[in-house]
């Protein structure tokens, strides 16, 4: 089961944090801080995997991907495959945020959550077909747009529509 998904920038500021088990705000902050602490002490060119027992309890593992100024972090237990999760991050990034930057994430906060909810549902990897995910997300944004007088077509979304 996936325990948490985080996006942290290189200064240690959380850009997105989603915990699949409820944790108090303070606890979340503490976890984000300790994760960042470990991540920034890692050298370049080392593996993207880490054991996270000391932060998330026994048998927790962590996969991260350093991407421009952001760390994308997935925390999960032994039921997932590290390489696969790493690819999951990659996939999410490639398909949805090709030129992702921090501001995209902040401003498209709800969109990012929508995408994430399509992929990871209740802590399980639910959908892995990117086409399906795109379809779902687009449908949602279309409907949202039509239900609202103001059009909300974020740049990134139009970006992958044109591709």
């Amino acid at each position: 089961m996936i325990k948490a998904v985080m996006v942290i920038n290189t200064q240690g500021k959380p850009r997105l944090a989603k915990f699949y088990d409820f944790l108090t705000v303070d606890k979340q902050q503490e976890l984000i801080r300790s994760v960042f602490g470990v991540l920034c002490s890692r050298a370049e060119n080392v593996s993207n995997f880490m054991e996270a027992d000391s932060i998330f309890g026994p048998d927790s593992r962590l996969v991260y991907k350093h991407y421009a100024t952001l760390y994308f972090v997935f925390v999960f237990d032994t039921c997932e495959n590290e390489l696969a999760v790493l690819d999951l991050i990659q996939e999410t990034l490639d398909k949805c945020f090709r030129n992702v930057c921090e501001l995209d994430i902040v401003f498209n906060y709800s969109k990012l959550h929508t995408i994430l909810d399509e992929i990871v549902f209740g802590g399980q990897v639910l959908e892995t077909s990117s086409a399906e995910i795109m379809k779902a997300v687009e449908e949602i944004s279309k409907l949202e747009a039509s239900s609202n007088s103001i059009t909300l077509v974020p740049k990134t979304v139009s970006g992958w529509r044109n591709r």
Binding site: S47, T69, L86, V106, F121, L126
Partner: protein, 980 residues
């Protein structure tokens, strides 16, 4: 630089306009991005909170604005600030009919609230409505919330709808309904147990996405109960086959791999189902083999699937062909430049090694590369692998490496883990006791207080027991080498408390045994310890007891006791200590020093810590005394169980003694074991006890008074005394200790009469270990590069020419048992023939220069290995018999009996409750009628002359005291192999 880039980038993005967000939000994000310190950021966020608080309650906010406010709230909370004032607005938003607002509201509540939050009740109704909505996106949004916010109590409210949705026309809804049901199952299995069949049904769903989602709950279910799902093996295999043959829609391809995530899930499930089941496994062989062949190993995801195949292959019933394929893939992983792949390779190797140990051999150099890699993750994974493949032939190298690594890390969590692994390996595979002690020293020194106290007790016992009965010289050499190393270490600053306890005990017991060190030297060191760690009472009491033993041994040997001035001042200082335990130890010390040689020898015989002690648990020797007391009009003993009513009475009777009587109510210490003493034999004679107790110390006096006035108080005493007793019990074994196995020496709180129990040392282990390393040594001589050496010592040889030898090294159990058999037949001759002696016999335990041979990191582990091959050592440990196994049950039996009697003994004698447990018990166990006199007398030197049988009771008391610091816990691992 990096920071500047970030900011610049953010600015650039910001200036391009706001993605439909307002300028305010943009400014907020920008200013937070620019904040130079946490304080500045906090200021910005706090003012944002103020703004939001004001704005959000304004009437008639446009929808779009409201949405933004909520998003800003989420943002604020993500930064670690309290946004609870806005929760209700998020909840209100979920009621909105507008999809955009509803979704935003749902998103916010899933992030804000937990399933037990009060506001949930306001959402449940909305969720119910939305689950029935015509718009499938609303249904999906609601299901999303269901996963997060529905708890056990609210499950019934939404369950019918969710089940209905399993048949929804949209696959996205079916998928999420399954996941919601799965979530319910995780939260409260009982509430949905009748619906589990739905998961099976949905496995046949037309949509691959739904089928894939079903695998998640099925995986969980199968993990819990494999057998109920064996019938699905064929289905799973055929699904996997279809996927591998690319029968799924193209959209599920990822990097040219057909539905890799579903494949991974299926392989995991198959691994569970095929584990230990030959029939089920046979179904899987073909398809797994296919995947091995078809998988594209150039992409991450392809490798992920390959890794999962290896995991599956190593979990199911072994198949030679598949194992071979797995080994090939592992080789590819390990040779890769990617750390990720190496990591997976090491992990896979760890799985496969259980089935085919020879795989590791091919990759030994790669493994050593990983061990030396700067990547910490990889290193730890490699240690995990080494841990799995440790055996007696390579334990020294591996443990050595582990300790080296342990020293260099700061992560306490991992340090504890690796320390316990070191200890575990050392206990299981230790080639010699000496090595074990050296290793333990290092672990103690560096992992400090992270080590469990059990480990310390094992170490003490090992030193006390030594190799076994037959080899006294080896034992004493072992001890004096321990003493020597401890005397060297003791001066180092900031040693962990536990280690100091071991040191003190060993020095007290064996410090002067070999005559190499004078008593004054050792006592001086002990005084230094007591001074340096003046805050640690446990260490101090260990030190005082050690001092007492050293003095006694001096007296017994007929030498004049030379008490150093610092020692004298320590004694004086501690005799006024706040800790009554320390105080008493010091008084006893002073009392014993005044006795003659014969008396002290009875009190503290040298090297008697391993001897067993017999207890008369019926306390029959007290019958006379009890009878006398009864005749004098004492009240008969009332068992604890019948006494509850009386406590109130005693409360009433002695209002002013209230405090004391509340103490009297506390029977915790005695409640655990069932007192086995028949009640009739033990009346409590209060009157007599007050008469008998001479009370020179005011502090004692008060307590004795209390004890006397409260009839049923068996455990009186100030809270301080209680505290101390706790400490004592911890050290000396709570009653529960009794049940565990194989403790031989120790536990002082019980007993008087020694009974010798033969404890066969770990000679069997040793011989085994050394024999196993024979082949190794022969092969390794010519290999020169250090790495190869290491490889050889870990795996047993590299090059092909050594293949034969190393493979024998691998099959240790078989090989060594074979050798053992031959040894048993013709004893040591066989062994001597086999090898050329490298060093003279005593080397392993050489007392003179332990640093040279066994000193921690300085020595090449390889050399250490060679030393172990010394054949004469083997000779000394011949007779790999069964001594241990036969004696084990007896010991256990003995121990299970003891504590009970000890406890009940204490229970009956309120008069002595002001003193420590051991004292009291020893007195009781003493088979004399006037025990009450003696007990009290023993603690007060001034009263010595009055006691009719002073010496006797003192002896017993001191004996117990001596035993007091003996380890009392057991270690099943260490002697498991000995005791069969």
């Amino acid at each position: 630089m990096e920071q500047l880039k970030t900011i610049g980038r953010e600015l650039a993005m910001g200036s391009q306009g706001g993605f439909g967000q307002s300028k305010e939000f943009l400014d907020l994000v920008k200013s937070i991005g620019e904040a130079r310190s946490k304080a500045e950021e906090d200021r910005i966020v706090l003012s944002e909170i103020e703004t939001l608080k004001r704005r959000i309650v304004e009437p008639d906010i446009p929808r779009r604005k409201m949405k933004e406010y909520i998003i800003r709230l989420v943002y604020v909370e993500m930064l670690g600030h309290d946004a609870s004032f806005g929760y209700i607005h998020a909840v209100k938003m979920t009621h909105n009919d507008n999809l955009l607002l509803k979704r935003t509201g749902y998103l916010a509540v899933t992030l804000f609230l937990n399933e037990d939050h009060d506001l949930i009740i306001l959402i449940v109704n909305t969720i119910q409505k939305d689950l029935k909505s015509d718009n499938y996106l609303i249904v999906c949004a609601a299901l999303n919330v269901v996963c997060k916010l529905i708890n056990e109590e609210t499950i019934p409210a939404v369950l019918p709808q969710v089940v209905e949705l399993l048949g929804h026309s949209k696959e996205a809804v079916r998928k999420k309904a399954i996941m919601a049901l799965h979530r319910f199952y995780q939260k409260s299995p009982s509430s949905v147990s009748h619906l589990v069949s739905n998961f099976r049904k949905r496995l046949c769903d037309n949509d691959p996405g739904v089928m894939g989602a079903t695998l998640c709950p099925l995986f969980d279910l199968i993990t819990i109960d494999v057998n109920s799902y064996k019938d699905l093996v064929v289905s799973f295999v055929s699904i996997l086959k279809q996927i591998a043959e690319r029968r799924l829609p193209k959209s599920y391809d990822y990097h040219q791999m057909p539905a890799p995530f579903i494949q991974i899930k299926l392989l995991k499930i198959l691994a569970l189902l095929g584990s230990g089941d030959k029939q089920a496994s046979e179904h899987m062989y073909t398809v797994v083999g296919d995947i091995f062949r078809k998988c594209d190993s150039s992409s991450n995801i392809g490798n992920a699937v390959l890794y999962e195949c290896i995991s599956c292959v190593s979990a199911i019933y072994p198949n030679a062909k598949l194992l071979e394929a797995a080994a090939d893939v592992i080789a590819r992983f390990l040779k890769s430049d990617s750390h990720n792949l190496k990591y997976m390779g090491i992990d896979a190797l760890g799985r496969l090694i259980k089935l085919s140990p020879e795989v590791a051999e091919q990759h030994q150099l790669a493994v050593i590369d990983c061990l030396e890699d700067p990547d910490d993750t990889l290193k730890r994974k490699t240690f995990e692998l080494l841990y799995k493949m440790t055996k007696s032939s390579n334990v020294e190298v591996i443990v050595d490496r582990m300790i080296d690594y342990m020293i260099n890390i700061n992560d306490n969590h991992y340090k504890t883990e690796i320390a316990s692994r070191c200890v575990e390996l050392a206990e299981q595979f230790a080639p010699s006791n000496h090595w074990f002690i050296q290793t333990m020293n290092r672990v103690f020194e560096h992992a400090g207080d992270l080590v469990k106290s059990k480990v310390a007790h094992n170490l003490m016992r090992l030193i006390a027991e030594g190799f076994g009965e037959e080899d006294d010289t080896a034992d004493s050499q072992l001890r004096s080498s321990a003493v020597e190393s401890y005397l060297r270490i003791i001066g180092e600053p900031k040693l962990p408390s536990l280690f100091l306890q071991v040191i003190c005990w060993v020095l007290g017991e064996y410090g002067t045994a070999d005559g190499k060190f004078s008593a004054s030297y050792v006592t001086g060191k002990l005084c230094d310890v007591a001074d340096a760690y003046s805050n640690d009472e446990i260490v101090k009491s260990y030190a005082v007891t050690a001092l007492m033993k050293l003095f006694v041994f001096e007296i017994a040997a007929g030498r004049k006791v030379d008490i150093l001035p610092e020692c004298q001042s320590l004694i004086e200082e501690l005799s006024a200590s706040h800790s009554t335990d320390l105080q008493q130890r010091v008084y006893e010390l002073q009392a014993i020093i005044g006795l003659d040689a014969h008396a002290v020898e009875c009190i503290l015989p040298s090297d008697a810590s391993c001897e067993d002690i017999e207890i008369d648990k019926n306390l029959s020797f007290l019958n006379d005394y009890v009878q006398q007391s009864l005749e004098k009009g004492a009240q008969p003993y009332i068992p604890e169980s019948e006494r509850s009513g009386m406590l109130d009475i005693s409360n009433f009777r002695s209002q002013d003694q209230h405090e004391a009587s509340t103490h009297g109510l506390r029977f915790e210490a005695y409640e655990l074991p069932k007192p086995s003493v028949p009640s009739r034999t033990t009346p409590v004679s209060l009157a007599s006890s007050t008469e008998l107790v001479p009370v020179p110390e005011p502090s004692y006096h008060r307590e004795v008074q209390q004890a006397a006035t409260v009839p049923s108080s068996s455990d009186t005493g100030s809270s301080e005394v209680k505290l101390r007793l706790d400490g004592v019990q911890k050290k000396w074994g709570r009653p529960t200790y009794s049940s565990s196995a194989a403790s031989t020496s120790n536990s002082s709180s019980q007993n008087t009469v020694y009974e010798v129990t033969p404890v066969d040392g770990s000679s069997n282990v040793n011989s085994k270990a050394r024999e196993a390393s024979y082949d190794l040594k022969k092969t390794q001589v010519e290999i020169s590069p250090e790495k190869q050496k290491l490889a050889a010592s870990l795996f047993g040889g590299t090059s092909k020419s050594e293949r034969r030898a190393s493979s024998t090294g691998h099959k240790v159990p078989k090989g060594s048992s074979h050798v053992l058999k031959s040894t048993a037949g013709s004893t040591t001759d066989v062994l001597v023939e086999k090898t050329t002696p490298v060093q003279p016999p005593p080397d392993l335990l050489d007392l003179g220069e332990p640093t040279l041979k066994d000193g921690p990191s300085s020595v090449d582990p390889f050399k250490q290995l060679e030393e172990l091959l010394d054949p004469t050592q083997l000779g000394s440990s011949a007779n790999p018999g069964i001594v241990g196994s036969t004696s084990a049950p007896d010991i256990m039996q003995l121990y299970s009996d003891k504590p009970a009697s000890g406890q009940s003994g204490g229970f009956m004698y309120p008069s002595s409750s002001n003193r420590s447990d051991d004292n009291l018990v020893s007195g009781l166990a003493n088979a004399t009628t006037d025990s009450a006199h003696n007990i009290t007398a023993a603690a007060h030197p001034s009263q010595f002359s009055k006691g009719p049988n002073l010496k006797d009771s003192l002896e017993k008391d001191a004996l117990v005291r001596q035993m007091g610091v003996t380890p009392s816990s057991q270690n099943p691992n260490l002697f498991k192999d000995l005791l069969g």
